[in-house]
Subunit: 323 residues, 2 copies
Amino acid sequence: CTTSTEMYFFTDAVVDAVLAVGARAVVTPGIISAPGWDRLGTWEQMRDEVSARIDAHGLRSGPGERIEVGYGPHAAYTLPAAALASVAEHAAQRDALVHIHVAESAQEDAHVRAEFGSVPALLESSGLLAGRLLAAHAVQLSDDDVALLGRRGAGVAHCPGSNGKLAAGIARIPALRAAGARVGLGTDGPASGDDLDLWHQARLAGLLARLGTGDAAGLTAADLLLLATRDGAAALGRTDIGSLEAGSWADLVHVDLQDPAFVGPDDDAQLLSNLVWAGGARAVRDVWVAGEQVLDAGEPTRVDAASALADVRAVARRLRAAV
Amino acid sequence: CTTSTEMYFFTDAVVDAVLAVGARAVVTPGIISAPGWDRLGTWEQMRDEVSARIDAHGLRSGPGERIEVGYGPHAAYTLPAAALASVAEHAAQRDALVHIHVAESAQEDAHVRAEFGSVPALLESSGLLAGRLLAAHAVQLSDDDVALLGRRGAGVAHCPGSNGKLAAGIARIPALRAAGARVGLGTDGPASGDDLDLWHQARLAGLLARLGTGDAAGLTAADLLLLATRDGAAALGRTDIGSLEAGSWADLVHVDLQDPAFVGPDDDAQLLSNLVWAGGARAVRDVWVAGEQVLDAGEPTRVDAASALADVRAVARRLRAAV
């Protein structure tokens, strides 16, 4: 949970920010062809910019390989099918991740289902399921769609908070996991994710899985912790992060067990349950990325938290004034 | 959100704990008649103990009237109908709150619906809807049930986290509010509520209302804040707490606006949105109850947090050893 995946524009600014705080990210610049977005260029230009970036710097770069670059074709309803196939080819040639919104809303699903069978079926015919794929949301799935994503071992970014806030629905996470899909957790952006706190997403994933299936013994605390760590790395097709073992990057989070969330730190099951169901960002004390300490006793080591907050507030004030 | 309602046993211990930390509570000792519970006495004895407690000390007592006593008949499926009617009489004579689980699980609902029409219908025929009633959960409700609770202005304790963790379902909160019910937020107990954090419940209430209705413009941040404050007090039938005005108790929570959750503290709408969707217990700096400061810069003023945590851990260790 020290790595995020960012589908956005202004790629250099995102990379600079990730490196400035010392985080780790897979940056998947947006590729889109929809009304209002043409001022950013054509989808071919956006695709070529990603390819050029990878060809110039390599798939991974920066200190501790903190930055990986992938492709961010926005969605099946904002790109022609030919664009998906072309991005699949560019990505396959570079073994790069493709990050795409998949069947998030009922409207998107109905639209694509009528023309192409379903979003997963379109991803399959475009060649995207043969490569490294991260399907964001994946809410509106038939049994066949679940089976297809599972058979292909697709990565899924489950964003339960965003799915709730936008009333998109409850993703079929237990079914996806059982079918073989690799599910990690996402916060989505601040417009529908607010605090970008992965802890809340883990807890919500547990609650929504239970409400979605009616099974109160659904995802366990251990399952939910794995969604936030090892399975999240697997969803990105990465084996060098997400677990603590020789050869992996030393990406570590130190949780303060003196937090009142923890009533039984000497009992493994109790600790795990407290960590997932009662822990939170409040209890995170230290963080290391690639062996370098980037959070020390709750304070970032690389940036001044107070001045970063002041900067964010100044930008927010400017944006509100401009509306 | 400085007042809790506690349906439990060991009433003296609960009252002592509330007074020790300086909180405010409505204590509604459990009244139950179900297999395994008879070692605590009959429901008539439990009812009479509550009545005697109120008759001896008054409905409200303690410094700043911190303690109110009410009745906690457990549920329609754990008590005979005669017990509900009798509790309604005892409570009405004393203008006391009655706190009862209502239609939490599908099994409970099916069982009571077959025999009495529905849980709300049984509450009505028992006389409970004529008095101060706090219906906990209220998940399994027909349109008629919603209309009845609304018409009677019943209080509802919405516990979205517990309803999710136990896979009980999504309560129809927007419909209940529209019908006239007075809805506040609850955490339920630690077995299904874990961190007892009302902030999480407020946020979850918003997410589940949206998933339950499919309306992404459902409960607003302002609605959710009211559920945690003024509407929560209304659900208890209280007008002396829950809002800041002359004649009300000075129960205040001071939130630290230097927390990074707040990007626009000088903009009311932004502040409210950040408070509900990104704030949390982490940002609570000070708390006053009845004008007395009980939390000061994050530290309780009345008890030592470290030794309280050590005590809780010792009890937890003893309980685990006994299992």
